[in-house]
């Protein structure tokens, strides 16, 4: 998303440049030689197209809806382009430390897979939340879940994270014994 927003902002710069240049060209041209055909943009025919239209026409409403939807997409894209880095406690005033969500997930995943009775695990991590999905063939979910929760919390407490993420653990046991 960050690359997309960067690309978009560059394109907007290009669009502003083009729009400004065309405006200056067309306005200046039609002011100097009102009788001649327009320079590049066939704006008289655009005006003729607009002449018979009203605010309540379907075309107007559809165009307005598309424009509003595009605006919403842009807002969502820029909201999604924020940094996802996980900040660690800064060890000094002139040093800041961060890590990537992927690295934290890798660390937690390795820890979880090394636990007894865990046959597989997948982890997603962010600065606020660490989500563990573990599979087990030997233990029931009720037994394993609290143990994993504690050990993951312990692992995260050992790391100098700027804020402790919330931990959620979901265990699926292949053979649930009752």
């Amino acid at each position: 998303m960050r690359l997309f927003v960067r690309l978009l902002s560059g394109l907007f710069g290009l669009a502003l440049l083009g729009l400004g240049a065309l405006t200056v060209g067309e306005v200046g041209w039609s002011w100097a030689w009102p009788q001649r055909a327009p320079l590049l943009v066939p704006w008289p025919s655009w005006l003729r197209y607009l002449d018979g239209r009203h605010w309540s026409d379907t075309e107007t409403l559809v165009a307005a809806g598309v424009l509003a939807a595009l605006g919403l997409v842009l807002l969502l894209a820029s909201a999604a382009a924020k940094t996802r880095d996980i900040r660690l406690r800064d060890p000094g005033t002139a040093v800041s430390v961060s890590t990537s969500p992927r690295a934290l997930a890798r660390l937690v995943g390795r820890h979880v897979r090394a636990q007894d009775a865990v046959s597989g695990a997948s982890v997603t991590a962010s600065a606020k939340k660490v989500k563990v999905k573990a599979r087990s063939r030997l233990e029931s979910a009720g037994q394993l879940r609290p143990r994993l929760l504690d050990s993951v919390r312990e692992l995260l407490a050992e790391l100098p994270l700027a804020r402790q993420p919330r931990v959620t653990v979901v265990v699926t046991a292949a053979r649930e014994r009752r």
């Binding site: 405006t23 409403l61 807002l75």
Partner: protein, 196 residues
């Protein structure tokens, strides 16, 4: 540049521009929808898009309208050009100018400093790979370091060695009272074992 802002290139301006354009598009589209659907009166909704009142006003004030349009167009050209140059410019890698006295200029290139710090950082126990670069401006340079750590490395030990040896060394060599550093850790990135 302080240590926190050296972590990554700032996207604030780009995000702000995209947010503003998005807000404008959303507000414009919504306004036209509100008018067209007749929420501001059915009479207004039935009026032509090229409203005769507005067209008459513009033809009555043709010269000022043209001047305003030309000025706005020029402004757009300047703003667009400025933004484009800003967007295409790569992030700065400032050289350090240690001495500006004429005849005795001393300059450390960004590449040389990055190389030295990167090599020193890679020799820390537990670090498998290190990458460094200089960011910020020549007046306020900062370091951006990426360290790949072996599985099970103690962060405290790495930090101590990094601070005491690498960063303090760089500050001392360059005689800088302060050299902010942003460190990015790739935890558990050690040699991957594929066979379990």
């Amino acid at each position: 540049m302080n240590a926190a802002s050296a972590l990554a290139r700032s996207y604030r301006a780009e995000r702000l521009l995209v947010t503003m354009v998005g807000l404008l598009a959303l507000a414009g589209g919504a306004a036209v929808l509100v008018i067209g659907l007749g929420w501001l009166g059915t009479y207004r909704a039935a009026r032509p898009l090229r409203d005769p009142i507005a067209v008459d006003w513009l033809t009555a004030h043709a010269t000022p309208a043209r001047i305003v349009a030309l000025a706005a167009g020029l402004l757009l050209v300047v703003a667009g050009l400025w933004w484009l140059v800003r967007a295409l410019r790569p992030e700065a890698r400032p050289d350090l100018e240690l001495d500006r006295t004429v005849g005795a200029e001393l300059r450390v290139t960004a590449g040389a400093l990055a190389n030295a710090v990167g090599t020193a950082a890679a020799s820390i126990t537990g670090v498998t790979r290190a990458r460094a670069r200089v960011v910020g401006s020549a007046a306020a340079p900062a370091l951006r370091l990426t360290l790949w750590l072996r599985e099970g490395t103690s962060l405290q030990a790495v930090w101590a060695e990094l601070d005491e040896r690498v960063l303090a060394g760089a500050r001392e060599t360059l005689d800088l009272p302060e050299l902010p550093a942003a460190v990015r850790l790739e935890l558990d990135a050690g040699e991957r074992r594929r066979v379990r």
